[in-house]
Symmetry: C2
Subunit: 335 residues, 2 copies
DNA sequence: GTGAAAGCGCTAACAA
DNA sequence: TTGTTAGCGCTTTCAC
């Protein structure tokens, strides 16, 4: 691999001049510039970013930690940050922790080792004390989907409890009282919050909570299939299923449909997240809007403001979910 | 940010010893190791990867270029490579070019500048001559979804033409002759190949190709919606629609359904790629299996073999699509 | 406008 | 087992 020295030699100039041409850092005569560019091209020279970072001690890299590369929810989040980063002339590195605490630590350590200027982390399994330590040391680290005590201005999150409450309240307002819930089997904050929203909506409506109508499954279509099968086997009567997320809803709908149970005529379904898939299920899924893009923009903006020494408090930190009405919930009161 | 010197000073040893502890590179007495680890921890020291790369000239980073972070197709590809990389103790960087030639070049340049040991690129818009130049200079660069002349052993791709042929032949075998096609509006190889497969299947069956039944749309659900609307407005009779991919199929199905056209009773649909979504559409989508994971594994294995100086020719390079029969195609012959 | 040289954080060869 | 030191590719200051 050609180095700056090779280019300098070939162009008959010093390395300093080559550096200046590469970085447009100060005036260089057109002839010199031409000669350098030519040499660069002939040698297929690509400056080493590492050498630059080693020397300069800062990097223009923004690092993200997400749970899973193959999950479109995170895909959207990454895309938004990627486009903002590009606009700022920064580059992006994304690590996925796959919901494993050790792997998550590794991912964040790697981002630090690569000297990312901003770190945006969506941690699923890291304990508070570990995150607190990272946050304390990385002044431009932002957390998505977590409200960590001590760092109110660097935590961007959704009101998950309120979202689930909204979903279940919508079912109740449509006359449902026997409402099953497929929760996430992961031990994460949002799973707990969403479940709590379900319980609160029931309680507020004076409906007694029936633990037999709650199943715990992976937050995937397969989990939804499994959950629906379990619920059907229970021979407990229910008229609606609220799900942890849209993926589970998709799986549950497939199983219901396989069993000739019509949606929403026989059973109503409500999802969460408003993932792309929800618009293409049949019937189109009523769900809760999770403003991922807006949260990603906010997280990025806060990080950027910190790095630039600007005021970060102008950006939103807690986001409110809203109901997206489609066709998977039946109004029982009109019958 | 603490440096290796700070740690050395605090632990009362030399930087070389700290380096040895970090890299487990040679024997160190337990007491020394302990002292170093303690100092590291107290100072929150994270070694700079950049300094290491600058010095060692190689990196254990594997770089990928994909089209779009938010597309689950690429998400799956990235996940597979990520897990293989982790197993090899390597880290992963992914850049997305969003189907723009300039951005794609930037992405690849960035991967080179970061001194990735292996580069896996899925280029949509780069011209052959540009790719040839990159491939010639980057000996461990692998191309996915492209058969670049001159580099047969570093190109991993799907027989797209054969896949579309398979799809349309399946429709024909089920008695369809008026077959519409929604193609991708992108000027990329696979779009052209798949379209060719459609035409060949028709020709082989003696069905005259009707250009009025072909519409060109974005490879997204929105594109599929648009395409279906156009086709319906044409008042040209058709009994089946073959799509460039599953996303388009999902969108088309939603539009058909909105217009009370039943699938497959009134119109059959076939997709391409066997994306996760295809199993959760209603009815479940008959489609063509695109073995992304297998291709990603192959690309990675070839790259690794090159880097290790092993024989790369044992890994598959061209992949054959297969038909996944589900419930979106009706057999017209039984009526 | 250009060059010489110092130095970033780190590893590895060599010495002790 | 540990320390000293050269040097990786690059940027930047200071001369000229």
């Amino acid at each position: 691999m050609a180095t700056i020295k090779d280019v300098a030699k070939r162009a008959g100039v010093s390395v300093a001049t080559v550096s200046r041409v590469i970085n447009n850092s100060s005036r260089v005569t057109p002839e010199t510039r031409e000669a350098v560019t030519k040499a660069q091209d002939e040698l297929n020279y690509h400056p080493s970013i590492s050498a630059k970072i080693a020397l300069r001690q800062d990097s223009d890299i923004i690092g993200m930690m997400i749970a899973d590369h193959s999950d479109p929810y995170f895909g959207q989040m990454v895309k938004v940050v990627d486009q903002l980063a590009t606009k700022e002339g920064m580059s992006l590195i994304v690590n996925a922790g796959y919901r494993d605490a050790d792997r998550e630590r590794q991912c964040i350590d790697e981002l630090i080792q690569k000297r990312c200027r901003i770190i945006i982390a969506h941690s699923m399994n890291l304990r508070d004390d570990i995150l607190i330590r990272y946050m304390a040391n990385q002044k431009s680290m932002i957390l998505i989907n977590r409200n960590l005590r001590g760092f109110p201005d660097r935590c961007v999150y959704l009101d998950d409890e309120g979202g689930a409450y909204l979903a279940v309240k919508h079912l109740i307002q449509n006359g449902h009282t026997k409402i099953a819930y497929i929760r996430s089997s992961h031990q994460v904050d949002d799973a707990e919050q969403r479940f709590r929203g379900y319980v609160r909506a029931l309680e507020e409506a004076g409906i007694t909570f029936n633990p037999a109508l709650v199943v715990s499954e992976e937050p995937t279509p397969q989990g939804g299939e499994q959950g629906a099968e379990t619920l059907l086997g229970l021979s407990q009567h229910f008229t609606a299923i609220a799900c942890y997320n849209d993926m589970q809803a998709a799986g549950a709908m497939a199983i219901l449909s396989d069993n000739d149970i019509r949606i929403p005529e026989n059973v109503s379904i409500i999802g969460f997240d408003n993932t792309a898939i929800s618009r293409y299920l049949h019937p189109r899924l009523t769900t809760i809007m999770n403003p991922v893009s807006a949260m990603a923009i906010s997280a990025f903006s806060i990080g950027l403001a910190i790095v630039k020494g600007e005021d970060a408090s102008v950006h939103s930190r807690v986001f409110t979910p809203t109901l997206i009405k489609r066709f998977s919930v039946r109004d029982l009161r009109s019958f």
